[in-house]
């Protein structure tokens, strides 16, 4: 029988939740790396027992961890993320030039085929890669140096590269997104990059239609349709069907189109999920009701999913990397909150239940479906 492993990164450590395919009873292990911020941990699709974790601290900087046994044991690997060449500058909040400074790893994306190859999205925004299981990391500097890097400006949470999507049909194609620079695509394995932000409109920047400068919060893709991407932007939910050539808004009837995560159903490429948040000033759900919204039409028509979720006095947030799906026959959907709950639905979002409560604030949720 299949089983599920949920990898949860929090402000004070990592937790691993496991269940059989019924997803009714959960075992919790952790905290791993107690006291440290775990921005993200993720398993290799090629070897599910190979996990990587980003462990950070305002005091002690960045540590990278690797597990070869599904998270039972861990060992530190290389934590040196040095920008290629002379790093130069990006823009600071006030528009003045600011030197690139490595701060932390926001997101890890293991290769689809090689357990030793992992991409790391970091702050200040850059893309790194290891091909030796984390023994060394090297920047794919074509991204920062493609031409607009000097214009990138941090979002309120920092200049972080938070999304990395690998095209399962084309090993040379990858998408990334940066707050608050926008989305970019490479078609040559990361050597050269193109901004893919046409159609995005952001009223808070001097040129609302600018090539870069948009605060993209998250991008999602269904593996069967790698040219179709869904985006939760600072405001607006968007989609593209030509690999980022043109975006169109699909916010439709959402109560608010501000939010952070966006995810696609494992078996239905036009079924997508978001968690509307009141506004950029009020990072909590509208009306104190925690609602996931599901669209079965790829956007525009949305339905609230509320069964099992708190519908009064709820003022948590759901961060950009804190939603994921499993690939069991009845798709499981999972998300974690800044209040420390991880909610799961074993039926595509129809009903929900907390699978763990009272963790530290959840930063990231990833799910592995195990044979």
């Amino acid at each position: 029988m299949s089983s599920v492993r949920v990898l949860v990164g929090t402000r004070k450590g990592a937790f691993i939740l496991t269940s059989d395919g019924t997803r009714q009873k959960w075992e919790v292990s952790g905290p791993h790396f107690a006291g440290w911020e775990i921005y993200h941990l993720k398993g290799s699709p090629a070897d599910p027992d190979r996990l990587y974790a980003s462990q950070t601290s305002g005091w002690f900087g960045q540590v990278m961890q690797r597990s070869n046994d599904g998270g039972a044991t861990w060992a530190p690997v290389d934590n040196k993320f040095a920008y290629e060449g002379t790093p130069g500058t990006h823009q600071w909040y006030d528009g003045t030039p600011h030197p690139w400074e490595f701060k932390r790893v926001w997101h890890l994306e293991p290769s689809l085929s090689d357990p030793d190859t992992v991409y790391a999205g970091v702050e200040d925004a850059a893309l790194f890669r290891t091909t030796d299981g984390g023994t060394s990391w090297h920047e794919l500097s074509g991204l920062r140096n493609h031409g607009s890097g000097a214009k990138w400006q941090p979002g309120a949470g920092g200049l972080g590269l938070h999304t990395i999507l690998l095209d399962p049909t084309n090993a040379a194609r990858m998408y990334i997104a940066i707050s608050a620079a926008g989305a970019f695509r490479t078609d040559d394995g990361g050597t050269t990059w193109t901004p893919i932000n046409r159609g995005l409109k952001s009223q808070y920047i001097p040129d609302p239609d600018a090539e870069v400068g948009h605060c993209v919060h998250r991008i999602a893709m269904h593996p069967s349709r790698p040219d179709t991407l869904f985006m939760q932007k600072h405001w607006d939910v968007m989609r593209t069907d030509d690999a980022g050539g043109q975006w169109t808004e699909v916010s439709g009837n959402l109560p608010t189109d501000f939010g952070f995560p966006i995810e696609v159903h494992a078996h239905e490429p036009e079924t997508i999920y978001v968690v509307p948040i009141t506004s950029d000033s009020h990072h909590f759900p509208p009306e104190g009701k925690l609602r996931v919204y599901r669209s079965r039409t790829g956007g525009n028509d949305w339905e609230p999913l509320t069964v099992g979720l708190p519908q009064q006095d709820c003022y948590v947030n759901v961060l950009r990397d804190a939603m994921a799906v499993d690939s069991l026959d009845s798709c499981g959907v999972y998300f974690g909150t800044t209040g420390g709950q991880v909610y799961a639905s074993a039926n595509g979002g129809d009903t929900w239940a907390p699978i763990v409560r009272d963790l530290p604030a959840v930063l990231s949720v990833e799910v592995q479906t195990l044979p």
């Binding site: 601290s57 005091w59 002690f60 900087g61 934590n79 040095a82």
Partner: protein, 98 residues
Amino acid sequence: MIRVELPQHLQTLARVGREIEVSVVGPVTLGAVLDAVESSYPVLQGTIRDHVSKKRRPFLRFFACQDDLSLERPDLLLPDAVARGTEPFLIVGAIAGG
């Protein structure tokens, strides 16, 4: 041997107790002791000083013999008591964060 006290999280990371011992060849300077710590415990590289710039992490402080050495240059000679091993060199997590 030079005695060095580590903050709790670095003890956990290096899988050691509160105090470690390192040897320094040549003058016992602030930078030489930090080099020796990182050489003996590579997992601590980047956690006390930046990998590239070698600057002290802002929320860590260095003390020896009641003196705060956090802002001193790497070539500062540490007190004789530290060089002789009768007093430890302290790496302390700053009290910050609210």
